[in-house]
Symmetry: D2
Subunit: 257 residues, 4 copies
């Protein structure tokens, strides 16, 4: 049984982690950490800080879905004590991650993933694998109207991976020079030479389609995500995998094949 | 049995019309017209001009898939003689069509359609019908790399129909102002306020998707066309319908419901 | 301002109705009815029965998302008092609906819809409209693993509508006789001659695709629904429309063009 | 420059191979073999038999898209002479393939693929890679009405690969026991526990969709093929790859990463 402490256990992502860990049979929650919920009765103790938590209970893994302002301090406590960390909080610079990993006790792992959705990670890996075999590739992402930037980070990353994988070859598809006057933008944004299109609608949460074409055929890889529970299989995969690793590991794909 | 003369019978579209009319049970080809093929042996006589053809054989309907340069002259011969015309040749101004229709014998019909693909016409009609019920709508069109302009005429027309049908309401989705620097075009081209995205790939012939969204739901209407045979059900529908109409009729939707 | 009473206001659907009506500008909640929540403090009074509610407050419309066991009694109180009813509770026989409508005060409307999702209703109407123009049609529905019957009621109804609309024509596609030994079921269930396929996955809530084919083209109509908020635009459309109607009206499509 | 002989050069697949090889810059046709076309004038000599051909011209690779009745004899001539073979003709038993490979000159390769469509092969490989991470998977295949068996061989193979990759885990989705009376087949055919659905329509050539689901997310891999040109990138990949291999190699995936 892997013993898990959940930092940010009262937040939206944190409470979803609590549910997922509770439902799984080979992992258990030993405590939560949340300054705003430390008085809350629960099936496990909740502490105000990571230090208090790790002084009081034995944990194998710390899961951190907190805030950019506190995640580094949390990891700086847990890693030297030999507690593996699974981190979904964004905003940590690579240099900071490396520094934190260097402070870890021997055999301890710092695992950070910008995206814990197994299907989204596979979509990107498959896009990378398919790119060399198709002359054309385009990315369409679909998000809720509340999303305030376009295109999404996942779409940009996917386009970059495609461009790298097919380099030095580039697309020969007609580009923005074929847009009719007044219809600028029809061919999308070019990210490293890959057209990326962003659709916004109240009917979506987070979806993406990668379309590859060659003579007479199309290969489409699509991912649809409907709520934050889609992160949980990836979080569990991280929890189950960090014990066998050490040092800094970035990206869920490391644990998928 | 409806007797059909096919102008441009040796061209790509014309010969597809010949095949479709030949295969149907309630229509028959009485002659072709094609200056480049008038000597060619066939199952029916082929004349160099419409005048020669209509002098020699009785026809109920003239189907014209020729060139902008000759279609008007063809119609100017057939319509006054009382031969209904089904026209897919593009490039005729509305004023010219009206003039030609005015020259027709009593009870004669001039039917022109920019698009004979039944599925594409239905897609546009459904988009018009759905638009009032959804806050958001976007159009994505997919065409072969040989297409030299973007977006397609069908996509532009669809966007215009959506804008009209939901007027005065406009979309509240985040627009081009949310495009990140360097990613201009991600939100597509705005056609009357409707985002239109164009994908180009060797793997497509002509496809289009119209996506409507409202809270918690998405309605998608998609049309895929793989070769010019997709025009033929619409051409046959036109041939069968013109006999009961007169004057100028524009658009296949007139005969669909 | 249309004054609305919500029966079942503490239930899952009822509370979503409360949210949607509260958010809309031209309708307002005057009371709720819910025996389990009548003591609950709220922005509006909650009564234990419809009789108590309509004795105490003036309402134009009663929305009923309750249980098969109580809906008839609720309507039997409201309709004779001249309160229009918008009903999403299933399980009422047509004869019962007709009887209840007959008991209504003059000019009062009983509106019942088995499905309030605007997109799903449009999908069915579009399927009916397209069916005459395509030789083939199949239905694929996608639902969550908790769904305990296959295919869905919406899929069955869609197939029936297609069969009626293209009658007496039937499909000429190869059928179940082409299934290989051991692969029975590959061609789906035949509902009035229309193949219906059911997909089950934790990744879906409720989706459906209707696929029409003819030579060289495919027309696809797809609806995806992600949570019960997708019912709300249809409930609001019902609330806004019943005032101008009387007698029994069945089906949201009546109010959609 | 790789020198290619094309057996069956006058057939449908063979002539597409001729076109593709002619268009590529690093390969060239040195002769064709076709008893029905040996008198035909062309850009290259055409022989009646493989023996005659290889006696007359030097070839590095023999491409064989002929008939089950002649392919073995063709290979039995070419392989002992040290000519690598790229074979798309179906109907050869594994034992026959092994025997033929054993007869090959040192360093000579016999490459056989049941499917040369790069996108279809990748779809299957991606399905295998994704299967361990998703509780549910289903396959939907879409083919033209002329297809006389269901489901397709590719769909069956895909389902088998999914079942193997996720073994010993099986799907927990509701199965055929949830089919309503009269709607048998709704949940598809079970191939090694994976539901497979077959759609038939004049609007398709050959398409397939593999749908993976887990909590709150769906990953879809789709391949659409519109004509036999979709085989050609795979044939070229085979021609370019056999020179570096020897012995029997089965499956295009061997040459794709």
């Amino acid at each position: 049984m892997i013993r898990v402490a959940v930092a940010g256990c009262a937040g939206r992502m944190g409470s979803a982690v609590v549910d997922a860990v509770t439902a799984a049979e080979d992992v258990e929650i030993v405590c939560g950490i949340d300054p705003h919920a430390s008085g809350k009765a629960d099936a496990f103790p909740v502490f105000a800080t990571v230090t208090e938590a790790l002084d009081a209970v034995e944990a194998d893994v710390l899961v951190d879905f907190t805030q950019p302002a506190v995640v580094a301090a949390n990891l700086a406590v847990a890693l030297p004590r030999g507690v593996d960390c699974v981190v979904g909080t964004t905003g940590l610079a690579t240099a900071t991650l490396e520094e934190l990993a260097a402070s870890a006790a021997d055999g301890t792992c710092l695992f950070y993933a910008p995206n814990f959705t197994t299907g989204a990670v596979l979509m990107m890996e498959f896009a990378r694998a398919a790119a060399p075999y198709f002359p054309e590739a385009e990315v369409i992402e679909f998000h809720h109207c509340n999303k305030k930037d376009a295109p999404s980070g996942t779409a940009v990353r996917t386009a970059q991976m495609i461009a790298e994988a097919r380099s030095p070859r580039v697309s020969a598809a007609p580009g923005r020079e074929t847009e009719m006057p007044g219809a600028e933008g029809a061919r999308g944004a070019l990210v490293d030479g890959v057209p990326v299109h962003a659709v916004r609608s109240m009917g979506y949460v987070a979806s993406q389609e990668v379309i590859f074409g060659s003579l007479g055929q199309t290969l489409t890889i699509r991912h649809d995500s409907w709520d934050r529970t889609s992160y949980m299989p990836g979080v569990l995969l991280g929890i189950r995998s960090v014990g066998e690793r050490e040092g800094l590991i970035v990206g869920l794909e490391t644990f998928m094949d």
